[in-house]
């Protein structure tokens, strides 16, 4: 049995080929080609054909049916090296699904609406709310300027206030935003507000201009949030409208064995399926060139958020803008002027396909990556909050600010896995680099296992779960994820050199190691993924390894390609100033074996 999966990205179409060899499923080959959504080709199937051709060349397996001009695959499998059984695809071509979200109260319905749209894989262009502090005419101008692919409107509990949700609907109807695709396109509107206002909503959104879908209220009662119906309607409309207007999609749709999913929705689905199957709490990040997606599955709750202008190529300048130069500089121990760091970042922004050639450039990009994930995660925590009717006022500019622990339901002490994906992470020359970026950005507490994808294929497997969950899960665990190792860290703070706790490491053969972990220290123990060791930590009263301050904890943990990391930097990580910071960073990089020895030696001197 053979499975072909493609992801039609905004710049590159990526084909992944899977097959069953003996009793085991394997990832067999990949092929990539530029996406052909623009002139002169304007047909996505051409890019798909080119990417699949590369797979054919690499494997000698015949996939494309050359008997017709139009792209066709040899399906079903004909035996030997001919044909495939299943073809699935995801897409983010044309910049993905760009949505406008509107609600009545910013912290209640608008927030729930955001969660629904983000869960469907959308990029949120703006959030309108009756109480967002902007005048109606300003809102109208925003709607006109943004030209969204779709609008989600929510507001009012069932049987409650109707006036405000109608008011926000009226603003959108009056603005008549011009859609991105052609004049014949009717703007899709999903209404998930007070059910008593449905008739009025129908009158507001006339059929000549809008395609209105009415679904169950996503906040039927103030204490209940039900995002699934809205999320499903968004996905349906995405297929019918947005995708259908991208050139060549109709042809592609005829080829796929199941519906095409937006790339981030598929990526999120795979992480969710994994977390559910293993009954674990997971954090995931898709650190892309333009956007940063964060996924969480915590105590049965799944959430996906996307920070639209936080990324490592197109959006790298915006990471600098939002995080500030000082936050980026703090991760760089090199003596670089502000001008040099800014120029490296901005020149990457205007030439996004270039790659770092020097370790200095690489280190600057790694510093930006930490900040991109940190901000993306703060945005995520902002939406990962308990439902409340009345909340502390926050402005939209606050979303990248730290969210205090008690405000989010994500408890870092109880995160079992962190999974990283995206070009920068998967192409990092040393695995220790991506592991350290993930640790520094997420700052896990207690015992957390870190993994990253080997070759970009999480979305491919995500859409495959729709048909073959077990196969997708198997490939995900065995072939897609690279086990980096376990990080063990404590909440608390102290002076550099203070004792955090005593550590005992007991190998499966009974051999024991003892050491004391100090504040500011990172200790890496090389242990393979196949080996399980028992780690016992007895912290001082200022530190908590997940079970309480000063409380002893013992756990069985696995190693990985990087090993087991004892992170003595406390939480939150605070970096000292001046030379102390520089020396600490070099010592961490050295202990993690993150960069070539000569480079670290040169820098540390």
């Amino acid at each position: 049995m053979f499975i072909l999966a493609t992801d039609v990205g905004s710049t590159t179409t990526k084909a992944r080929f899977f097959g069953k060899v003996g009793d085991e499923w394997h990832f067999l080959a990949s092929g990539e080609a530029p996406t052909t959504v623009e002139k002169p080709v304007e047909d996505v199937t051409k890019g798909v054909r080119n990417a699949v051709k590369e797979v054919e060349e690499l494997t000698g397996h015949k996939i494309i049916d050359n008997s017709s001009e139009e792209l066709k695959f040899i399906m079903p499998y004909r035996g030997g090296k001919e044909g495939i059984d299943v073809y699935v695809s995801t897409s983010s071509a044309g910049g993905g699904l760009q949505m406008l979200v509107a609600g009545v109260v910013k912290n209640i319905t608008a927030e729930s609406a955001q969660r629904a749209a983000l869960g469907a894989g959308a990029i949120i262009m703006d959030v309108l709310a009756v109480d967002d502090g902007r005048e109606s005419y300003e809102k109208i101008n925003i709607v006109r300027f943004l030209r969204p692919d779709m609008v989600l409107i929510a507001g009012g509990t069932d049987g409650g206030d109707k006036i405000h949700v109608k008011e926000i609907a009226e603003i959108i109807a009056m603005a008549k935003p011009r859609p991105r695709f052609g004049a014949s396109f009717k703007l899709p509107i999903v209404y998930a507000g007070n059910k008593d206002a449905r008739d009025d909503i129908k009158n507001i959104f006339t059929q000549d201009y809008f395609d209105l879908r009415i679904v169950d209220n996503l906040r039927p009662q103030i204490e209940i949030e039900r995002v699934e119906p809205a999320r499903n309607a968004i996905l349906e409309l995405f297929m019918e409208h947005v995708m259908a207007h991208a050139p060549g999609y109709e042809k592609l749709l005829r080829l796929t064995s199941t519906e095409i999913m937006p790339t981030p929705a598929a990526e999120g689905l795979m992480i969710r399926v994994f977390a559910e199957a293993r009954n674990v709490n997971v954090l995931g990040v898709g650190l892309g060139g333009a956007t940063t997606n964060i996924y969480s599955y915590f105590n049965g709750r799944f959430l996906r958020t996307v920070s639209a202008n936080i990324g490592m190529s197109y959006s790298i300048g915006n990471v600098l803008k939002e995080a500030g130069l000082d936050n980026i500089k703090r991760w760089i121990p090199l003596d670089l002027s502000d001008d040099v760091i800014t120029s490296i970042i901005y020149n990457k922004m205007i030439r996004p396909t270039t790659i770092p050639m020097t370790l200095t450039d690489l280190m600057v990009e790694h510093a930006v990556a930490r900040e991109a994930i940190r901000m993306g995660f703060n945005h995520h925590k902002y939406l990962a909050r308990e439902l409340k009717g009345i909340k502390k006022e926050r402005t939209i500019s606050d979303i990248f600010e730290e969210v205090r622990g008690e405000e989010t339901y994500i408890d870092m002490k109880r995160i079992d896995y962190i999974i990283g994906t995206g070009g920068l992470l998967s192409r990092a020359p040393r695995r220790a680099q991506s592991m350290m970026i993930l640790i520094d950005a997420f700052q896990p507490i207690g015992f957390t296992y870190i993994m990253q994808d080997s070759v970009f294929m999480i979305p491919h497997l995500g859409v495959l779960t729709k048909l073959y969950k077990d196969i997708a899960l198997r490939i995900f665990e065995k072939e897609c994820l690279i086990p980096l190792g376990t990080v063990i860290a404590a909440r608390g703070s102290g002076n550099l050199g203070d004792v955090i706790g005593d550590v005992t490491l007991e190998h499966s053969n009974g051999k024991k190691e003892f050491f004391t972990l100090h504040v500011g220290e990172i200790r890496r123990v090389e242990i393979q993924q196949s080996e399980e060791v028992t780690v016992t930590v007895t912290p001082t009263k200022s530190f908590d390894f997940g079970v309480g301050f000063g409380k002893k904890v013992s756990k069985k943990v696995r190693g990985g390609v990087v090993g087991i990391i004892f992170d003595g930097r406390g939480r939150p990580i605070t970096l000292p100033q001046g030379n102390e910071r520089v020396n600490l960073l070099w010592s961490w990089f050295k202990n993690m074996n993150m960069y070539p020895e000569d480079f670290i030696k040169g820098g540390a001197e």
Partner: protein, 379 residues
């Protein structure tokens, strides 16, 4: 497999004579004012349309303190009426006139709707006339009725890497003698008013300020210090989606941020065309479907570029002997000749295994550069 391999790179376009085609579209359907075969100039208005005015919601029932369904009782105007800013549009009076409240029109416009469900009235501001110019000098090749025209001209064409400010035109004036020279404020004077000024490797902050004061229409230069530029703009750039900056002129960077000599080829084309009128547009979108800033210098057909001389613009193909520019540190801006295109992966300083090309720099040394980090200057 051959010992060499080919590499395709998207490089920026720099051509001394090519055929430039521009689609000039109205934002919404309207009236096209030119016809096929017409000669148009930079400022020729090719079409116009009326953009519907902005609707303005007036919360009448809230202001008057009445129930929404009572709104019609108190409105003093009806749907379709023209109102001026300050006009009374609704009035409420109680207790024999002792308690009076009124609603005034906040804008000029027409009453579009009065809604008894929301208690709101909507005033639509007057239509706005939008006129679209030809932007370049050329011939109208095709008309899309009511929507757009296609204009064509033989032209010298240069793409920049990032620009600021929108469409403008003016005569080209080269203010430096070499592509590696700096454009400082001393090199700018009154004669540069309304001109497109060509600098070399770098424009100083003081020169940007002076250009604004002098009424320069455009600056084309290799690079700028990012801190200077952000000080000049008054904000951090963030994403490379530009073109709407209100800086008084259009700035086009051909190389990037820093002190970066303009490519010799681009500089020579600009020098050769000194005194000619050029259109510039700083609009940049570094996203999928990338848009780069441009300089279009229309040429007279048959004089400067016969049909046979016109180059076709296509994606570059790197070959042995291609002249390329390195676009990443530590060789940023260096120009060299491709002397090797090895097939196998090479490990570079960062320890990444990548496909490279070998380039002989102008000083004679040969360096290995990732293929992603070059731009073709000529094949």
């Amino acid at each position: 497999m051959s010992e060499e391999s080919f590499a395709y790179t998207p490089g920026l376009i720099t051509s001394s004579a090519t055929l430039v085609t521009k689609i000039r579209a109205l934002p919404i359907k309207g009236e096209i004012l030119v016809k096929q075969g017409d000669n148009v100039d930079f400022d020729t208005i090719i079409g116009r349309c009326h953009l519907e005015g902005t609707p303005y919601i007036v919360k009448v029932s809230e202001i008057l303190g009445i129930d929404p369904e009572e709104i019609f009782k108190y409105m003093t105007v009806k749907v379709g009426d023209k109102v001026s800013r300050g006009d009374i549009i609704a009035k409420y009076s109680a207790f024999l006139g002792l308690m009076k409240r009124s609603v005034i029109a906040p804008v000029n416009g027409v009453i579009e709707s009065i809604n008894e469900l929301t208690g709101h009235a909507v005033i639509r501001e007057p239509f706005k006339l939008i006129e679209v110019t030809a932007y370049i000098r050329g011939v109208v090749k095709r008309i899309i009725p009511g929507e757009a025209v296609v204009i064509e001209t033989p032209a010298a064409y240069i793409q920049g890497i990032i620009g600021f400010g929108g469409e403008r035109h003016g005569a080209i004036s080269v203010a430096v003698s070499r592509p590696d020279e700096i454009l400082d404020e001393k090199k700018l004077n009154e004669s540069h008013a309304e001109k497109i000024v060509v600098g070399g490797s770098f424009v100083t902050y003081e020169a940007l300020i002076k250009a604004q004061k002098l009424g320069v229409r455009g600056i084309i230069v290799g690079g700028v210090n990012i801190a200077d530029l952000e000080k000049f703009l008054g904000y951090r750039i963030g994403v490379a989606i530009t073109g709407r900056e209100n800086i008084g002129f259009t700035l086009i960077l051909t190389e990037g941020f820093g002190r970066l000599p303009m490519s010799e080829r681009a500089f020579n084309i600009l020098k050769q065309n000194e005194g000619k009128e050029a259109a510039v547009n700083g609009t940049t979108q570094v996203r999928a479907g990338v848009v780069r800033p441009e300089v279009v210098i229309p040429l007279k057909r048959g004089v400067h570029a016969g049909e046979e001389e016109i180059e076709l613009l296509s994606e570059g193909r790197v070959k042995i002997g291609s002249i390329v520019r390195i676009i990443r540190y530590p060789y940023f801006g260096a120009i060299g000749t491709v002397v090797g295109l090895p097939v196998e992966l090479h490990t570079i300083e960062t320890e990444s295994p990548v496909r490279i090309l070998k380039i002989r720099l102008q000083n004679g040394s040969v360096v290995s550069i990732p293929r992603a980090n070059i731009e073709i200057i000529s094949e």
